[in-house]
Symmetry: T
Subunit: 69 residues, 12 copies
Amino acid sequence: MSDSVYKVIELVGSSPGSWEEAARNAVEKAGESLKNLRIAEINKLDMRVENGKVAAFRARVNLSFKYGE
Amino acid sequence: MSDSVYKVIELVGSSPGSWEEAARNAVEKAGESLKNLRIAEINKLDMRVENGKVAAFRARVNLSFKYGE
Amino acid sequence: MSDSVYKVIELVGSSPGSWEEAARNAVEKAGESLKNLRIAEINKLDMRVENGKVAAFRARVNLSFKYGE
Amino acid sequence: MSDSVYKVIELVGSSPGSWEEAARNAVEKAGESLKNLRIAEINKLDMRVENGKVAAFRARVNLSFKYGE
Amino acid sequence: MSDSVYKVIELVGSSPGSWEEAARNAVEKAGESLKNLRIAEINKLDMRVENGKVAAFRARVNLSFKYGE
Amino acid sequence: MSDSVYKVIELVGSSPGSWEEAARNAVEKAGESLKNLRIAEINKLDMRVENGKVAAFRARVNLSFKYGE
Amino acid sequence: MSDSVYKVIELVGSSPGSWEEAARNAVEKAGESLKNLRIAEINKLDMRVENGKVAAFRARVNLSFKYGE
Amino acid sequence: MSDSVYKVIELVGSSPGSWEEAARNAVEKAGESLKNLRIAEINKLDMRVENGKVAAFRARVNLSFKYGE
Amino acid sequence: MSDSVYKVIELVGSSPGSWEEAARNAVEKAGESLKNLRIAEINKLDMRVENGKVAAFRARVNLSFKYGE
Amino acid sequence: MSDSVYKVIELVGSSPGSWEEAARNAVEKAGESLKNLRIAEINKLDMRVENGKVAAFRARVNLSFKYGE
Amino acid sequence: MSDSVYKVIELVGSSPGSWEEAARNAVEKAGESLKNLRIAEINKLDMRVENGKVAAFRARVNLSFKYGE
Amino acid sequence: MSDSVYKVIELVGSSPGSWEEAARNAVEKAGESLKNLRIAEINKLDMRVENGKVAAFRARVNLSFKYGE
């Protein structure tokens, strides 16, 4: 099992409320089709701004999962 | 319009409650005087600590807006 | 006093709820034994994922405190 | 709509003439199969050299598009 | 003269044709109001994509000029 | 041929013996389904530790191959 | 007070004698017009060379001060 | 258990034979006194050279373990 | 042949017209005296500015070629 | 001896006069309790500013010494 | 002697077997003509892939030696 | 003249007294054989430590000069 190969993909989640929700959205969307997700690393946080207000929090996330199965 | 020039400035917002509030404070303070804010990127997150407790969450933010108008 | 020497250590805090709580856990755990904590910088944010859901938010934190006293 | 999840992929385009053409080739190849491409960020520029001459300009590009639809 | 202080600002120029034009737009816009521009360093290159085509090349530029005069 | 577009993916290989074996596992797993692999760059090396011993060497690898064929 | 917003600007100071003087020149020039300067971080050190000798030491400095007051 | 705090320390291991042995030496030396080591990340690899030959392979390693127990 | 050793040098090319020309100048100048140039990677792009106009595009390039032959 | 394990710690020294004094303070404070210090690398230089003047130069230093003896 | 000046060059070694051999090849090739090599730092590891197999391990190495003697 | 090609080399200077002297030693050693030195950028500062004291300040410097003349 220690010789398994994992793939890392990068997703961007978004939420009007928080970076935690933004990141959770990315993880759960991925979880619908990918098995064995393990670690999700944050690469970048930013915000979309509209009319001088924060319209959305966004989190760019690296997700790893078992490859080729 | 695609030839507009944008300026990027760096602000540090602060909040006793969360990094989202810290970043929002920076964005909304900038929004009082700057028009056409678009994207706000997080450069750094840290905390001010007092007496062994977190006294404030701080977010360092890059903000872009139309330049020279 | 300006000639004091500070030490920087790196801790990883964890929380089921938010990165703020994760970072706060690291700071307060350190505050039990270390005096004069000042600034806590975030080096990395990630999440532990179980069954396609976020099981824990984790924050990797650099903490500085007076050295050798 | 602000809760959409985006995926980021990395492509390398190539052109004998310019980095703009190299990057454009990568974007347009991706556009054949991916919808809702938004932003394409340059990660790296290099050149393939043959017989002491530049044989090709290459651009490594991060492309984001809607995920899971 | 070697003790002059310079300020560095960051601008984002844009052009439908090339990154050179995008960067030149940023420099010339700044040159309308700032004197003694010297060096302009590229921090980032990206593209805005519309309908699977490159709609604009953008260059993020650090510009330095004499400060406080 | 110089106008081909390549895609870059990131895999994590693992081996009880060495980082070379870990990286080779990632490359050969990818080679089962992807054609025209060229260069594999190491992004990160780490180890999984169990009971104070190294249980596995892991190599995070960027692999490029022809896209869209 | 913890909700104040700070702005970060980047200056380049110069001195024939040392990087400390170069950085001090940048800080004191800024101090003529900006209140509440707190921390000045060094981003880059370099030297201007003339006729094979060091003609000036230069320090690129990030300065933060209260924004919008 | 998800709220445990981990500490990260940095060690440099060395070996005449390989980076794997160098890193393993660092991990096992740490394992003599620290419990619950989990992940060991490589920060840097280098070599000590003597008389034009490689005298030792060295690995700089970040090790995390349970803090404050 | 796979055991050949390559050397990497860094050159800065310059052109009034484009970064492609700037980089090509560096490559072709090197090609006059160095054999077996393969890859030329861009490390940095900048511009020299005179009187508020772009006077030259400059490209900093890493070039590799066979060493010691 | 080539198999010794070293530990790397990070200290911040401070001085009203220079970064050399700041770094020396950190090294000598560490030298009071640690044996076999070898190399001290600078990670960051900054300044504390008070009333528009430089109040202290600070140097963040990585120090390595023999571990576990 | 502490005022000696060293030069740093960058070489790429290659080996069908391991990164240690690849790096050793670069060091020993340099040792044929350069005296007083001290430290060799790894900047990058990669692999050349042929027919879905690893054809060569490559190590990019920074080597320092006495300059101008 | 704007089409001249420059080469960048990396030297390490050393001094018992200061980083300025260390860097100046590197520049002046290079100036003995190289013409048209322009800019010298600091890549890294460190110290050699002996018996718990700073034995030498060292500066790693990138120097550019006209290539191929």
